[in-house]
């Protein structure tokens, strides 16, 4: 505290300077844009699967070389993309999470690649494809998919004699059993900052937070479905049956390792993340379809998953689109992805998983990829994200965290979030109706 004597302005001046000297508007790779020589594309992507994929591309395409930069995970990377686009030094290609793609379009980061997208649609399931098409235009090539599933500690479940829950009601009963058997153990965590996770649960229940009709947006975060989901978790928190704290903290990791957190309902990528924090418990875990809200419907939402977008700053739109298409659809790319535990978005890639070994976290679960394919087939076909998911996500995080720490109703946090989202959209000039 005492050491920072530089005035506040200095913080801002760095930003201002970055923006001041940047009217040239030239994309990166300008020096390589000679007519004949190979061109170099700059590519921003996070995650362990990316470098092997890029290496495979570079080996096969001597004329279009790709240089990958890890600009941080989903939130950081998209924040930097917006700033870099304004500064005129954005990369040519970048990974963007599905739910932030609309914000990237509105911010002028993601380019319309419809003219390079011939025949691309058939490569993907409709639910996945709808994540990258808006208003009839295509803005990206899906790369990985994160349909929600239940990753659980099978060893602990067996020891306690708990059946894998197939409905959320059974999940609540199981939560009770777990906590009764050991007061330090919880079936799962309700992390108030997990916007994507809650969005998935709500979508599964039938919520539609943003919808667009003509030029008018409808925003509805506290519809009956979302409120029901909030009340469900509220009940579990109130009865002390779930842990209400952030995920992936040293604290949480320690509890997972001790076997005190028994499951994580999240995107399919959860297996990779859990392996990172609890490598020693590999073999104890398994994956099952997410519990359902009612017996009839098995549709689940997505949590995470991302697309490769071509930026508006690129000078090599065609080459960039070709690379994006390859990353989303080529077998070599999918193979590299699967090896790192990512679930490919393309149908061909998903086919390829059936011949692969299960993820490192659950080497004993031979039907892992079959289950994954089954879950993916039943994802909700149309999920529309609004143009300011960044605002929604930050408002949601603070509102939910406050609700959990102060003990106020979770459902009120949804209303607070909706108010902030609508206010932001109105200020920006969108036509919005609030439900």
């Amino acid at each position: 505290m005492m050491r920072r004597t530089i005035p506040v302005m200095a913080t801002l001046s760095a930003v201002a300077l970055a923006l001041a000297g940047c009217s040239s508007g030239s994309g990166s790779g300008g020096a390589d844009a000679e007519a004949d020589g190979p061109i170099t594309l700059d590519y921003w992507a996070w995650g362990t699967a990316q470098q092997p994929m890029v290496d495979a591309w570079n080996a096969a395409h001597p004329d279009i070389q790709v240089k990958r930069t890890d600009a941080g995970g989903g939130t950081d990377s998209s924040a930097k993309l917006v700033t870099a686009t304004r500064a005129g030094n954005a990369p040519d290609v970048a990974i963007v999470e599905y739910n932030t793609l609309p914000a990237m379009i509105v911010a002028g980061v993601a380019a319309d690649i419809s003219e390079h997208a011939d025949g691309l649609e058939e490569e993907f399931a409709p639910g996945v494809w709808s994540q990258v098409t808006f208003d009839g235009a295509t803005y990206g090539v899906p790369q990985d998919a994160g349909p929600q599933a239940l990753t659980y500690n099978q060893a602990q479940f067996d020891e306690l004699g708990i059946e894998v829950p197939t409905t959320w009601e059974e999940f609540a009963d199981a939560a009770e059993k777990v906590h009764e058997a050991d007061p330090d153990s919880y079936i799962t965590t309700f992390a108030p900052a997990e916007f994507g996770g809650f969005a998935g649960f709500a979508q599964q229940a039938g919520a539609e937070w943003w919808s667009v009709d003509g030029d008018t947006w409808t925003v509805d975060f506290d519809d009956d479905a979302s409120v029901a989901v909030a009340d469900y978790w509220q009940d579990l928190i109130d009865r002390d049956l779930v842990l209400a704290e952030p995920l992936l903290t040293p604290e949480w990791n320690a509890k997972v390792n001790k076997g005190e957190v028994l499951s994580w309902p999240a995107g399919l990528w959860a297996a990779g993340v859990l392996y990172g924090v609890a490598e020693e418990s590999a073999g104890d875990w398994a994956m099952a379809p997410l519990p359902r809200w009612d017996e009839g419907s098995s549709a689940v939402g997505f949590q995470g998953g991302s697309a490769v977008v071509v930026t508006t700053s690129t000078e090599h739109a065609e080459a960039a689109a070709e690379f994006a298409r390859w990353m989303g659809t080529a077998d070599e790319a999918s193979a590299a992805q699967i090896e790192q535990g990512q679930y490919p978005a393309s149908l061909a890639g998903q086919e390829l998983t059936l011949e692969s070994d299960p993820p490192l976290l659950m080497p004993q679960q031979k039907d892992y990829w079959e289950t994954a394919a089954e879950i993916t087939r039943s994802t909700i076909p149309e999920i529309s994200w609004g143009p300011n998911v960044n605002v929604a996500s930050s408002a949601f995080q603070d509102a939910m965290s406050t609700a959990v720490t102060d003990g106020t109703p979770l459902r009120d946090a949804l209303t607070t979030t909706e108010a902030e989202v609508v206010e932001d959209m109105e200020t920006t000039g969108f036509e919005v109706t609030q439900k």
């Binding site: 939130t75 002028g108 808006f134 900052a193 030029d215 952030p246 604290e251 960044n390 920006t428 000039g429």
Partner: protein, 311 residues
């Protein structure tokens, strides 16, 4: 004729050269000042009157930067979170500033006692935390605070007392302030200690001859004489408090209690980068900078008469 006219011309040239020299020497500093302070500040102020608005229709229309007048200032000042953030800052400051300065002064006075033992070792030991980067220090303390990784909790549980989760509930403010105090005491202690060493020894000698105890010397001579240094460190502490950012940001992933708007700078960061609203962030920054300036001037006005002996 020429012999008559030459000398005045020479004198004139010399005079002009002398007149131009200061400006020449000022130039590098002035250029740096303009490039790295004046222009960015001007740009930030300009930016605070701009905003991203929809250009043309369509649900996915692209936004463009336009003039929005005082909209950003209105939005900043009507947001209850900014005020709440300043409130949290005040609680934090009330804990951190007096404790840092108090401990720094105490240590400095103790080290300045005659015939004190292990002075060099103690001085280094107290100073070392300042050399630990803020983020590292915060992570280190974060691990000590979290019940599952904290040796403190381990010990407490062994002796039969429950664990202590300081990152939740009323202990949060002292926990965050503690990190700043731990890191800041050494720096402030060195400033005060250096200032103490600058006091001529004959002042103490005279006091001792008059029968003053070490306590009297500390209270009636040392503290008044290091008052200018105390004001300086106080000012640094105050400005530092208004700029708290690193500690709560680093601790945020570990607790739900620290929001993205916990302190004003965190809110500015969120608006600028998470919410892509650079203009609102610029407006809040201008307001916060002006506030800091006003508070600093008031503090100096209130203290300068007494500590610097100016009338």
């Amino acid at each position: 004729m020429s012999a008559v006219t030459d000398p005045p011309t020479l004198a004139y040239r010399r005079a002009r050269r002398r007149w131009g020299a200061p400006f020449l020497f000022l130039l590098p500093a002035a250029l740096l000042f303009v490039a790295f302070l004046a222009i960015p500040i001007g740009y930030a102020i300009y930016l605070s009157f701009r905003g991203m608005r929809m250009a043309g229709g369509g649900p996915f229309g692209v936004r463009q930067e336009t003039w929005v007048g005082l909209d950003n200032y209105v939005a900043a000042f009507t947001d209850p979170e900014l005020l709440a953030g300043l409130g949290r800052l005040a609680i934090y400051g009330i804990i951190a500033v007096p404790l840092t300065l108090g401990l720094a002064l105490t240590f400095a006075l103790l080290l300045d006692l005659p015939r004190v033992r292990g002075a060099r070792f103690s001085r280094t030991a107290i100073f070392i935390p300042y050399a630990v980067p803020g983020v590292v220090a915060t992570l280190l303390w974060g691990f000590l605070y979290l019940p599952s990784t904290s040796p403190g909790t381990w010990v407490l549980e062994r002796v039969g007392l429950g664990g202590l989760d300081v990152l939740h509930g009323p202990m949060l403010f002292p926990a965050v302030a503690n990190i700043a105090i731990w890191g800041g005491v050494g720096f402030n202690m060195i400033i005060l200690y250096t200032s103490l060493r600058g006091i001529p020894a004959d002042v103490y000698e005279a006091a001792r001859l008059d029968g003053a105890s070490e306590w009297d010397i500390a209270y009636r001579i040392k503290i008044p004489l290091v008052a200018p240094a105390l004001v300086l460190t106080g000012l640094f502490a105050l400005i530092g408090t208004l700029q708290v950012y690193g500690e709560p940001t680093t601790l945020r992933p570990m607790t739900s209690e620290i929001s993205q708007t916990w302190v004003p700078l965190m809110m500015i960061y969120r608006d600028a980068f998470t919410r892509d609203n650079l203009s609102l962030a610029a407006a809040s920054s201008v307001a916060l900078a002006l506030g800091t300036l006003v508070v600093s001037v008031i503090l100096l006005r209130l203290t300068q008469k007494r500590s610097f002996g100016e009338s």
